[in-house]
């Protein structure tokens, strides 16, 4: 037997220390008090409000992408599968004519990301304020 094995045998011979007889009762008394003060309840990683933010954010991004698609027609070689040529969004674009001229010099991706981030920040602020009410 090695030194390690011997030591294991020796240490296992030591008398086992036992807690007091009413240990469980004492702990459970404290647990009951804790349960009244602050009950331990499972809280999901993403709250209902969080899911609402994610869903509304996704919808906003989708709408922004659809709108901007009309500003920046995508070349056939770009790999975009969704064809919107049959949809007419011109009624939505009328108020954005000035913006359209400004944006015409920029790339579709940059503008889509910038607009989406801005809108998400607005949604986040909105939900933040609603939570305080």
């Amino acid at each position: 037997m090695t030194t390690k094995d011997n030591l294991r045998t020796f240490l296992k011979e030591l008398p086992i220390e036992a807690p007091s007889q009413d240990f469980t009762r004492l702990v459970m008394e404290r647990i009951r008090l804790e349960a009244v003060k602050s009950p331990v309840v499972y809280t999901p990683l993403i709250s209902t409000r969080g899911w609402l933010k994610i869903i509304s954010g996704s919808i906003i991004i989708l709408v922004v992408m659809l709108l901007l698609y009309e500003f920046f027609p995508v070349k056939e070689s770009s790999g975009v599968v969704l064809s919107l040529s049959s949809a007419d969004f011109s009624f939505l674009l009328k108020p954005f004519e000035v913006l359209s001229k400004f944006l015409s010099g920029l790339s579709f991706t940059y503008v889509a990301v910038a607009v989406s981030v801005c809108l998400l920040l607005v949604v986040d602020q909105l939900y933040g304020r609603l939570a305080k009410i």
Binding site: L7, F10, P19, F23, V27, V40, V41
Partner: protein, 191 residues
């Protein structure tokens, strides 16, 4: 009848039933007390530390990720609770005597201990363990008494596996050095 697992009772507690924590307390009370006792070396403090550990575990039960074993997760709570209790009370008293034994002398100490009667051996081992630092007693308890693997001890003590191995080696050596010192002292008292 199928025995209910820790996961079942934890889920019950998280559903809002605090009474489901009782079987967990019953199952782990000896382990918690034993580890606390090795660290605090005082029955009263060990009992208090073990109780506090259960309360802390209950409070943070919703943060317990089922991936790790509950035992390891709970042992970590017991270890940190007992260590902080000792530190706050500044009860850490460690023998500064270092004997620096050779491997041959360690073997001699081991043989001498092995030849003793079980009762005498327990007494001498107990004395030697009292001279170790709380974390050293804890590591011996977890490895030799609870038979936990090095990887789990590393999680409990917040060390790397290689650090645990080094610490185990040093603690084992230190324990035998203390035993050697105790045996020499008692021999010199006899003669």
């Amino acid at each position: 009848m199928v025995a209910k697992t820790d996961a079942y009772f934890i889920a019950e507690v998280l559903r809002g039933n605090p009474e489901a924590f009782a079987p967990i307390v019953e199952k782990y009370r000896h382990l918690a007390f034993s580890l606390s006792m090795k660290i605090t070396r005082n029955r009263e403090d060990a009992e208090e530390a073990a109780q506090d550990a259960f309360i802390r575990a209950y409070r943070s039960l919703d943060s317990f990720k089922g991936g790790a074993a509950f035992k390891t997760w709970f042992f970590r709570i017991v270890y940190t609770t007992a260590i902080s209790k000792v530190r706050s009370a500044k009860k850490i008293t460690v023998s500064l005597e270092e004997y620096k034994l050779s491997d041959g002398e360690i073997l001699d100490a081991e043989n001498a201990i092995g030849q003793m009667g079980a009762e005498e051996r327990s007494l001498q081992l107990h004395k030697a363990m009292e001279m170790l630092a709380p974390d050293e007693s804890a590591i011996l308890n977890l490895y030799y008494f609870e038979d936990l693997p090095v990887e789990e001890i590393a999680i409990i003590m917040d060390l790397t596996a290689s650090n645990v191995k080094v610490k185990l080696f040093r603690t084992r050596k230190k324990l035998y050095e203390q035993l050697h010192g105790i045996l020499n002292t008692s021999e010199s008292l006899v003669y």
